[in-house]
Amino acid sequence: MADKIIELKNVTYTYPLASRPALKDISLSLEEGKLYGIIGGNGSGKTTLCITICGFATKFEKGSLDGSVLIKGKDVEDYEEGEVSRMMGYVLQNPFSQISGVRETVLEEIAYGLENLGVAPEKMEERVINIAKKTDIEELLLKNPYELSGGQQQRVALASVLVLEPEILIIDEPTSQLDPEGTESIFKIIRTLKEEGKTVLLVEHKIDLLAEYADEIIVLENGCHIKSGPTHEVLIQRELEEHGIQLPQISVIFDELKKRGKDYGAIPVTCEEALKLLKNA
């Protein structure tokens, strides 16, 4: 069994001036090297969970936190300033806000984090070019980050965090402004990260893609952790639809067929699984 890299113990978080907590008594244990998909409706606490894990919830939002968040066994609050950002990368939901605002080209924007880590300029360039190739933005390197489209900014935002080579990546809706092709390419990058052994927490509404790429799914509703487990196990549970969670279309189709007497022996969550079942039938 892989090591636990993130642990949440009875975490309740309330934003300043809020009358009710945004996260309620959440306990989770996340293993190293896995890709976790976080799903839930709007206002379910997905982003709050992300910033709580990063330690930003108490540091910047100044809300009240009960319980504890452990990163590699150490409370996130006990880490020295900046230590968490060395091992944990956070890609925000809004790519426009992810731009530092102080660099004139995409090249420098991506390098900004490396400058903050004191990396030598020559090495910086090498690392930036490598990550730009990986995220398919090499042709944008000399452009102004503010002049890019939303999708391009999203890639730049991802690249500027990936370049820091964090062990843990928290990515909040990285494909919200991308077309299907762009979305697919981002997921390919995320898969590469998983293959490199990184722990990835991915907030995403595109459930079909999560079904394909995520190892485990965490479901939130109204700040409560209502379900979690291996992707396949979670995404075949039709009762999740009552909580406003959209299940993969393929699993819904197969479940409906089963109800109508056409049982294929299992409920798939991806097209690939469905094809295998159909071939074997």
């Binding site: 925000l92 984090g113 903050n116 360039e125 930036v128």
Partner: protein, 265 residues
Amino acid sequence: MYREQLMKKKKNKIAGLYPMCKLKMLGMYVILIILANIVQIKELPLLLIPLSLCIPLIFVLSGQPKDYLSFIKMVSYFVCFVFIVQALLIKGNDPVLIWQWKFLHIYRGGLDKGLTLAFNILNFAGIFYWLFKTSGYQEISAAMEQSGLNHKAAYIFLSTFKMIDVMRMNVYTIMDAQRARGVETEGNVFVRAKAFIPIMIPLVVNAMLEVGERALTLESKAFSVKCEKTIMIPATHNGYEKIALTISALIVLCAIGGYVLWLTR
């Protein structure tokens, strides 16, 4: 290879000076402005007028005369307005009439105020405009950081200036959005004034909301990590800094000498 492109040195020797050197030159120019304000000819700060002519000369020597024209286009109305208002409305403690036409009067006190304000604006704004036109904000910030300025202070300096450009872009986005909702943003002064509130409110609210996210962005980019910071595109010297500073210092010394002579005349 990208760094080389971005670090390309400017061809003009003055425009390509190290930003800190330009800052020192700016400081020396400020001394000249102060001296020109003190030295009074016929009880008027007349030296400010020839001094303001040095600004176009500096722009021309820096190979950017077009930038001076755009500067003059920007400030001329304001400067003229300030001069006329001050000259026509102020009498001074001991009114000495210099010029009169029908109901219009210009007294020495008013002329003094008008000249002082108008030409100080031209000189101060002109020299700062020259600095920012010949060195980018990022270049100046990099030079300041290389000279030992704390990286947080450098960020504040840079983001303050950059924010102007970002907000300008946001205004256009908001204007497009409001136009799509039927808000008239073009037309006479009254139409534009009516569009002011639906544009300003989202602009300010967005800017305030972005502050929080910007903090998260910086933290996720290791901003608070305690280590020696590096700069990918550092500000570079072009080798003419010593000459430029020596010439500037000589000019200032001559001016101070002239001032001492004027005092002891």
